[in-house]
């Protein structure tokens, strides 16, 4: 370091002296050809100017001007070849040379300094730009790490290590870019080794959403660096963090997308099957109905009645499955609108009573029309399922009551019957998928335990809750609320 400094001083002194000697020689030459002294003065000023330009700081400029004055005095003023001055005019000339020299050298050195600064800044932004643009082309966190390590190693001229911490898969990778060349070495390491590596290096953590996802490790010596370099390094680290964050978020989005795609495929499959089942079922129901009109024999009528009822039941099941797939598909398939509670209940009752024409269903709704945001078809499905469940637990002589009322911001729907009620053991599991109540008597219509589970799914999707309890005397009550 010191040697280098000495070297510069020697060089600069050499420049100063040689320019002065050249000026003196040139002056002697032009004097010989009979030019006036004024030209000599100008040549000396020029030499001082050149000195300032090609040396650092303004010390050399001042030194050069002093030497120039002395040389001018020695070679060109009477008495010649002495440092004494006869004509007082020359004192004034010396002063002018001195001031001109100091002024110009201060100016030039300042100019040189700002140019150097600008050059430095430009170089920094060039480096930053290169790093940013190569990071922009990366795909995947490992790629980001590779590019970052290589860029840093060529920028700082040292070995650079990038440790990639994958928290999801619990793996740690160590990528090292050597000082020389563009190669990179990749090594899987244990998470315990991270501490030892960070202890021996000047380390910058890369953090995404509060989680440490990577570490940039530089040689310890770099801990002391200039403010400019430090600033540059910080900017580079920032760029690396942004790139890593981008890659992690993209990866997460991809995973989420793949998952929804899978879900969608599943429910589209289910829906396609349901659709295809529905068409022949409609045919079967229709054919059975035609036969019912034609047949006269009591026994045959009973058989066909069975076909008719069962195919109707299957159609309702398919309807339920189709609604379930809509819930699973989420917001896109669901159409939330304001619906009048009375209209929804009326539709549900009129459809449900097609299958239970003998049951009496009484309804009570509030005096003021109640508009509730919901997917009307889905809530109709909930009510139909609850009514069917009530029908299953009652005989036509029992009562089924449906009521709707408003309580604060909640609209309550209730389906209550005075039938057989529900086995106490079954109550907690009633809304589970594929649960079939044990108390169901042998003759009862079959179930695969979907109806109530779908009710729960639909109500929960609307932000409401569904519950059931046995009545004090007989039967049970299902109720659910929707938010207004």
């Amino acid at each position: 370091m010191l040697k280098k400094l000495n070297g510069t001083i020697v060089t600069h002194l050499a420049i100063t002296l040689s320019l002065n000697i050249s000026a003196t020689l040139l002056s002697l030459l032009i004097q010989h050809f009979g030019f006036t002294e004024v030209n000599v003065v100008v040549i000396y000023i020029l030499s001082v100017l050149l000195t300032s330009r090609y040396t650092k700081g303004y010390t050399y400029g001042i030194v050069a001007s002093v030497i120039s004055i002395l040389s001018f005095n020695f070679f060109f003023t009477e008495p010649l070849y002495t440092f004494s001055v006869d004509d007082r005019n020359y004192i004034f000339t010396f002063m002018v040379i001195l001031f001109a020299a100091i002024f110009t050298s201060a100016l030039t050195s300042k100019l040189i300094y700002s140019k150097e600064l600008a050059d430095e800044r430009e170089k920094q932004s060039q480096i930053l730009y290169e790093i940013t643009s190569s990071l922009a082309k990366t795909g995947g966190v490992t790629d980001v790490a590779t590019v970052s390590a290589q860029c840093l190693s060529s920028l700082l001229g040292c070995d650079t290590t990038f440790i990639v911490i994958n928290q999801k898969e619990n793996t740690v990778q160590k990528l090292t870019a050597p000082k020389s060349g563009r190669g990179i070495t990749v090594k899987d390491i244990n998470s315990e080794d991270i501490e030892t590596i960070t202890a021996n290096h000047y380390t910058f953590p890369i953090t995404v959403r509060g989680k440490r996802v990577g570490l940039v490790c530089l040689p310890k010596e770099l801990e002391t660096m200039t403010k400019e370099n430090r600033f540059l390094l910080d900017s580079v680290i920032m760029q690396i963090t942004i790139a890593t964050q981008r890659e992690i978020l993209t990866a997460e989005k991809e995973t989420a997308k793949a998952e929804t795609e899978r879900e969608r495929l599943k429910s589209s499959l289910l829906r396609a099957i349901s659709h295809d089942i529905r068409t022949p079922l409609t045919g079967i129901t229709g054919a059975a109905e035609m036969l019912l009109q034609k047949l006269k024999d009591e026994e045959n009528i009973k058989l066909v009645q069975g076909i008719f009822e069962d195919s109707g039941w299957l159609i309702r099941l398919v309807e339920n499955i189709l609604n379930l797939t809509r819930i699973q598909e989420g917001h896109l398939a669901i159409n939330i609108q304001l619906e009048a509670a009375e209209e929804i209940v009326a539709e549900a009752v009129s459809r449900a009573s097609k299958y239970a024409p003998n049951h009496k269903i009484s309804i009570s709704v509030p005096d003021d029309v109640l508009f509730i945001p919901m997917d009307g078809k889905l809530i109709i499905q909930v009510l139909i399922n609850l009514i069917e469940n009530a029908v299953k637990h009652t005989t036509p002589s029992d009562e089924i009551n449906i009521s709707v009322w408003l309580e604060g911001r909640k609209a309550w729907f209730e389906v209550s019957d005075n039938g057989t009620g529900i086995d106490l053991h079954d109550l907690p599991k009633l809304f589970d998928m594929f649960f079939i109540a044990r108390s169901t008597h042998i003759d009862a219509e079959r179930g695969i335990g979907l109806g109530l589970a779908i009710c729960k799914a639909i109500v929960n999707f609307h932000g409401g809750e569904i519950m059931v309890e046995n009545n004090n005397v007989r039967g049970s009550t299902f109720r659910f609320f929707l938010n207004i």
């Binding site: 022949p280 045919g283 229709g286 035609m290 109707g312 159609i315 009307g376």
Partner: protein, 229 residues
Amino acid sequence: MGILFLIVEDDRKIRKFINFSLRSQEYDCIEAATGKEAMRLITTQNLVAIILDLGLPDMDGVELIKQVREFSDIPIVVVSARDQDNEKVEALDAGADDYLTKPFSIKELLARIRVVLRHSNDNKKEDAPVVYRVADLEVDLEKHKVTLEGKDIHFTPMEYNVLTLLIKNSGKVLTHKYILKEVWGTYLDSEIQSMRVFMASIRRKLEKNPAKPRYILTEVGIGYRFADE
């Protein structure tokens, strides 16, 4: 030549079922499995009504309705699945007279057909009645008077207009859009809600229990129907 129906349906079993239902009422039927064939029959045969499945293999059912409506007022009853509400509404707005949701029973089909036949006869007579009587309800269009079980009921002019529109088309489903256009003169989605409030208030004046309507039935997601039977 009896009363001749056209059944346009690509599913053979459902076609047979509709055919059977109609024949049981002594109606005659011809069948078409594609839209093209249907168009040929509509233009060549003297039909009374068309029963049309919206999901045809060769053309959009709604498109077929539009084409037919360019030259004929023949009643059209649309048949479709429950999850095709939008298509139903489109079909009704394009000029279909009514709809049926699969699976439907013989009873439902015949009820719809009776309504469309009656309306097409009414239109031919051109002297629409002045007083409508349905069960306990009586609406006198000349005197602007509505009585239920003999008692006068007061309606605001707007409510009265909605009620008369419904009762003139009793048995037929009227879409939200149709009612808005006829009564309010405009069609904006935002107005559907205010129309529903009107409906609720009319219902409260007519019905003993608005959730068990006798007169004004709601077709959820589609519109309203005045029950006449």
